[in-house]
């Protein structure tokens, strides 16, 4: 690439995102394949005699989830590892790292970059995306590839496709990815929300017939679940917070099964607030925790302040958008409208429990929705009254470093995750207790290989990380 092209705003925007993505891909790649949520899936995928059989068995394997593609995907990645001779870790973790890189690049494709003010606004919003706790949810865990990251990526791709001129190939790709993701994780319903919203807003790249086909696919999916007698996870299927306390699934069932409405209302509100204000986390409001002896750690006010600044800008923009609704939409308005709807629907998905993963796509769209107000503020500051320019400068002098700080915190958490994930392998296949090893040869071979690869993947111990990091970055 010629150096002069870097001077073009759009090229600079993609370069910026690529550089940020590179470090995140590295941090994600350092995490070994996890024992929890990953090992069993990989082993089961390898043991099935065929992909068809695996699909059928995985489709009927649970009475509350329909996620056969989790296994098909794992089988595919195993085949890649076996064909190429690459390590399992390289393939599975490489896939996750690639998704994270694509997510950041897709984010750039979702915004309008015409000038340097757009690049400045994008730079800020990229730190909102990567600093928000929901980004940790798409980077830390894997099952064995993070499905929530896949949903967030496909949602972004759908929006990016909608912004461009219509092409049947792009729309077919979006529909194909929707079908894939619906059979991967239930949160994929958010992709459908994005498609329908884009069509409703008459964005050029998504036609109504695409939205209709997407809706028919969703209906077929819901019908399939019903036919297989798959219900939605109910109260008690997982633990979640209430006020300042985290309750186990059994505790929640005891407290709320007779009258679930307060829990539903609490979780829906929490699902909104966690994206907009970084609190609660898993339903627990840190400031309300009764076991807090030392007072709130700095991470809580840092996170709340950073989020409150962006949410305030977003709310002001939405109010102004409503006031000028008769004038028609401006180019950046759809990202705000779709973002707000995705955040609202995502909150509804938190009905029975809240976790960062469920709201991760909403977190991505929160950062995207922030672009329009941030860009508008930069525009108003240029050429506006001096007092307003000073106010906006003060806003960014506080908000921009806060979000950059949170972004570094995401790397900090990823290092800790790498350590804990690697440590989990140490207790498996104990050399002095062979009777505890799996008797199945495939399970033993895969576990042994994954353990060996994980141990070779050296990570930093939290003892060597800055001690203040726990207080400023870990909640």
């Amino acid at each position: 690439m010629r150096l002069s092209r870097l001077r073009r705003p759009r090229t600079a925007a993609y370069t910026l995102a690529a550089l940020l993505a590179l470090a995140f891909a590295d941090s994600v790649f350092r995490i070994p394949v996890q024992v929890s949520d990953s090992l069993d899936v990989i082993v089961e995928s390898a043991k099935a005699p065929s992909a068809t059989r695996l699909f059928i068995e995985a489709s009927g394997g649970s009475d509350s989830t329909l996620r056969p593609m989790r296994y098909i995907q794992a089988r595919g990645l195993l085949a890649v590892a076996n064909t190429t001779g690459l390590s399992y870790n390289a393939v599975f973790r490489g896939a996750h790292a690639a998704i994270i890189m694509l997510l950041l690049l897709a984010f750039v494709a979702c915004v309008r970059i015409d000038g340097w003010l757009d690049v400045a606004a994008l730079a800020f919003c990229l730190t909102v995306l990567t600093g928000l706790h929901t980004f940790g949810a798409v980077t830390r865990e894997a099952f064995p590839v993070n499905h929530y990251a896949e949903v967030a990526l496909v949602s972004m791709v759908a929006f990016a496709v909608a912004r461009r001129r219509p092409r049947w190939t792009s729309q077919a790709l979006v529909l194909l990815l929707l079908a894939w993701c619906l059979l991967l994780i239930e949160s994929a319903v958010l992709i459908w929300v994005v498609i329908v919203m884009c069509a409703a807003l008459r964005m050029p790249g998504i036609r109504w017939r695409t939205a209709v086909v997407a809706t028919l696919m969703l209906v077929a999916y819901a019908g399939g679940r019903q036919a297989l007698e798959i219900t939605s996870p109910g109260i008690g299927s997982r633990g979640s917070g209430w006020g300042g306390v985290y309750y186990s699934g059994d505790d929640l069932r005891d407290r709320f099964s007779a009258n679930p409405l307060p829990l539903f209302a609490y979780n829906t509100a929490g699902g909104l607030l966690t994206v907009l204000f970084s609190e609660p986390r898993f339903g627990v409001y840190e400031l309300l925790r009764p076991d807090r002896a030392e007072g709130p750690s700095p991470v809580v006010p840092i996170n709340i302040s950073a989020s409150a600044l962006v949410t305030t800008a977003l709310v002001v923009y939405v109010v102004m958008l409503l006031r000028r609704r008769r004038e028609g939409l401006r180019p950046d308005d759809p990202s705000v409208i779709v973002g707000v709807v995705v955040i609202a629907v995502s909150a509804g998905l938190c009905l029975t429990y809240i976790k960062d993963e469920i709201v991760s796509t909403a977190g991505t769209f929160y950062a995207l929705a922030a672009f329009a107000p941030i860009r508008a503020m930069l525009g108003r500051a240029t050429g506006g009254p001096t007092r307003l320019a000073l106010l906006i400068a003060a806003y960014f002098l506080v908000a921009a470093p806060l979000w950059a700080f949170r972004t570094v915190g995401t790397h900090f958490e990823l290092r800790r995750t790498a350590y804990y994930s690697r440590n989990d392998w140490a207790g498996l296949l104990p050399p002095g207790r062979r009777e505890s090893w799996p008797s199945d040869p495939i399970a033993l071979a895969i576990t042994s290989r994954l353990k060996s690869e994980a141990l070779q993947r050296r990570t930093i111990s939290p003892r060597f990380l800055p001690r203040w990091g726990d207080r400023y970055w870990v909640e």
Binding site: A123, G383, A400, F412, G427, P431, F464
Partner: protein, 152 residues
């Protein structure tokens, strides 16, 4: 028209992008932000790094041999301890179990030291593991010299 310094909004992200480039390139060369630490077997145990302990044992480190541990890992000064002593000191039953299943075998003298160390660094899970390891009665610790005794 006045120009607003938009770099105020983007400067932290730009700095992060440059830092990211450094992190990635330096990581490929073994450095970068928060690279993997170099430790002895006892240090790996003292920092509760069971995976690193397993790796070092697999590479030939003796799980029964005392090795140095840097200041502030266990106490304020450097000490030389066996991996099991480091595990008891760190009150970590998990890494202790990993060591025992990887060839660590305390003799009667070492067992006395481990149990007395558990008295000064109490942990119920570690104590249960130490009790299960030997039928010998729990020792009286007055005359047992512990590693790093002078500093405690």
């Amino acid at each position: 028209m006045r120009t607003f310094p938009s770099w105020i909004a983007s400067a932290p992200a730009m700095a992060l992008a440059l830092a990211s480039l450094w992190m990635t390139v330096a990581a490929a060369l073994g450095g970068g932000l928060w690279p993997a630490d170099e430790v002895t077997l006892s240090e790996a145990v003292a920092t509760r790094n069971a995976a690193e302990a397993s790796r070092l044992i697999a590479l030939g480190a003796d799980p029964n041999r005392a090795t140095p541990v840097r200041p502030d890992f266990l106490i304020g000064r450097a000490v030389t301890v066996t991996p099991l002593e480091a595990a008891v000191w760190a009150r970590d039953q998990y890494v202790m179990t990993v060591l025992l299943e990887s060839g660590a075998l305390p003799g009667p003298d070492e067992m006395r030291v481990l149990r007395c160390l558990n008295e000064t660094q109490p942990d119920a899970n570690v104590r249960a593991t130490l009790q299960a390891l030997s039928d010998a009665p729990w020792p009286v610790c007055d005359d047992v010299t512990l590693p790093g005794d002078s500093a405690q």
